[in-house]
């Protein structure tokens, strides 16, 4: 076990793989909606604060602990947490680093298949919103609901196989073929091509959007500059309020922190796994910062300039105000492309880019569990891929079946995205700063590093980051938990969804127990 079976091929490949894991739908759909609805340009103040004091420090902590655990031959969160924390409780807490990516993969692969399905719809002209402009939005909503089966549970699995189920099967298979090929020949190779292609697609769409001018001369106020203004002008949360008042509202800070978290893939269990394949003298500081900055580029420079301005130019404030990922991405933007000259091509390009963004993320969600199954059960890649394929396939079918109103999907996304990733980030921060020790952690991060951690990092990771995370959790408990518990108990679908999370967690805890003995035996002679 102590012999490493896998390794990254190149440093750039690793950076692109981590960046690919971070860049996803959230960069293009969630970020612009959140910014426009929470202070516009003013939102960037809490956003960058969260990035500097929360996102990047946790990133560095994850990279460092991953590299540390890798020196013992471990690649999964439970084993790494165990070796860093030296107590079995940490090993069990490491289950979060598996549950999160595995559960998210179950529904994320579905959304990924929608992106590919929409790309094909634009390419082959399957999506037809008709000639009556007043009906575009209604038809777009109908198309989406029918594509994802949002009108009724079980719709996608009734009678003949629905086209979106076929696309899901295809995307699911591609993910597992790539993951089976391994770290270097699968994930890394794919990301080395996918990220540049994604950037080119995004640039082409960006140029198209920024050169739209004023498409409808009868509505001169609907122009690109005003679209950019809708996104970037600092404003209050309510009409007439000052933008400074938005900064005084804790909700703005919570939303900004949540966005940074979700976007950077911190607290996902992915970075710690990817970094575990590094050697002791490999750099983690510059590599971590480079992967983060790549993600920020896609989010702020591309996502911030494309989505909202495009929606505003054709649909005005009503269209640009859609802040939900699905509303903005799959209901509003198809209408925008219908209006846009050359819209079919640009629609294809846009959704294909989203598909690439999604698949580079979903691949990263599989690798931690693959590594864990290999480590805990002592099995090979073929067996671990088969087991994980079965688990995630069944989970994915659950979300395909309970498709009515996308209730199950949204609920689990809320549960994982708002709670579990914050809990995991807190666990990792405490483990790094208070158990491994900041001094030791920084020393280990600096081994082979091509730049030094900033002077404020030890203080921030020890005091600021955990406090920030604890405040986030306390606020969630006070503001959302009662309503969350009530809706979970009241709705059978949500109860089943909660059950999926619990069953998966218990199963993984059982495997951690099995793996624990082997891991302890392997580390005794290495300390």
């Amino acid at each position: 076990m102590s012999i490493k079976k896998e390794q990254w091929g190149t440093r750039l490949g690793l950076i692109l793989a981590v960046a690919g894991s971070a860049v996803g739908l959230g960069n293009f759909l969630r970020f612009p909606g959140n910014a426009a609805a929470n202070g516009g340009g003013g939102f960037m103040i809490p956003y960058f604060c969260a990035l500097i004091f929360l996102g990047i420090p946790i990133c560095w902590a994850e990279w460092t602990m991953g590299k540390y655990g890798g020196q013992f031959g471990f690649n999964s969160s439970p084993a790494i947490f165990g070796v860093v924390g030296r107590r079995s409780i940490w090993r069990y807490l490491g289950v979060l680093g598996l549950v999160i990516p595995v559960i998210v993969y179950m529904y994320y692969v579905l959304i990924e298949s929608w992106c590919l399905g929409y790309a094909a719809s634009f390419l082959f002209g399957w999506i037809d919103l008709g000639a009556d402009k007043s009906q575009f939005t209604a038809k777009s909503v109908d198309y989406f609901n029918s594509f994802v089966g949002a009108n009724q549970d079980g719709l996608m699995l009734e009678g003949s196989i629905h086209i979106s189920v076929i696309v899901w099967l295809l995307v699911f298979a591609v993910n597992f073929v790539l993951i089976y090929r391994g770290l270097s020949k699968g994930i890394e190779l794919f990301c080395r091509y996918a990220i540049p292609v994604m950037a080119i697609c995004a640039f082409v769409v960006l140029i198209r959007v920024l050169t739209l001018g004023t498409p409808d001369p009868n509505q001169p106020e609907l122009n690109v500059l005003n679209g950019l203004g809708f996104m970037w002008n600092p404003k209050g949360l309510q009409e007439g309020e000052s933008w400074v008042s938005a900064l005084a509202n804790p909700k703005t800070w919570m939303t900004a922190s949540g966005q940074v978290f979700f976007s950077l893939s911190v607290g996902f269990g992915v970075i710690i796994n990817y970094a575990s394949y590094l050697k002791r003298k490999d750099d983690v500081v510059l590599s971590g910062l480079t992967a983060t900055s790549t993600n920020e580029f896609f989010e702020v420079c591309l996502g911030g300039l494309i989505t909202i301005p495009a929606a505003f130019v054709f649909l005005g404030m009503a269209g640009a105000s859609q802040s939900g990922t699905f509303d903005l991405g799959f209901k509003t933007l198809p209408v925008v492309f219908e209006y846009m000259p050359g819209g079919r091509f640009f629609g294809f390009l846009w959704f294909f880019m989203l598909f690439l963004a999604a698949i580079t993320s979903s691949l990263s969600m599989l690798q931690p569990a693959i590594a864990f199954l290999e480590e805990s059960l002592g099995i090979g890649r073929r067996a671990s891929v088969a087991i994980l394929g079965l688990i995630t396939g069944l989970g994915s079918l659950f979300f395909i079946y309970f498709s009515n109103g996308l209730k199950a999907l949204n609920y689990v996304d809320d549960t994982v995205g708002n709670i579990l990733i914050v809990v995991l980030a807190l666990v990792q921060t405490l483990l790094f700063a208070w158990v491994l020790g900041v001094k030791r952690g920084v020393q280990f991060a600096h081994e082979g590093a091509e730049m030094r951690l900033p002077f404020f990092f030890p203080f921030v990771i020890k005091y600021v980051t955990p406090s920030y995370l604890i405040i986030m959790l306390v606020m969630w408990v006070l503001q959302t938990l009662p309503e969350y518990a009530k809706k979970t108990l009241d709705d059978p679908v949500l109860k089943y969804s909660f059950g999926v999370v619990v069953v998966t967690t218990v199963f993984l805890l059982f495997l951690i127990r099995i793996g624990g003995r082997r891991w302890r035996a392997e580390t005794v002679d290495k300390r």
Partner: protein, 50 residues
């Protein structure tokens, strides 16, 4: 687009572009470091007696 909007947009994008340029410059200026995870000297041969 107000002056405030321009300022926030330019500063935000400028910050991110500067950061990514700095990072990739540092990563890519040593082609060998970017292309290979481990230089031969980094391999522990267990014979250095440190």
């Amino acid at each position: 687009m107000t002056t405030g909007g321009w300022i926030f947009m330019v500063v935000s994008i400028g910050f991110v572009v500067s950061l990514i340029s700095f990072c990739y410059f540092r990563v890519l200026r040593k082609p060998a470091a970017a292309d290979h995870m481990h230089a031969p000297l980094d391999i522990d041969t267990h014979d250095l007696g440190t």
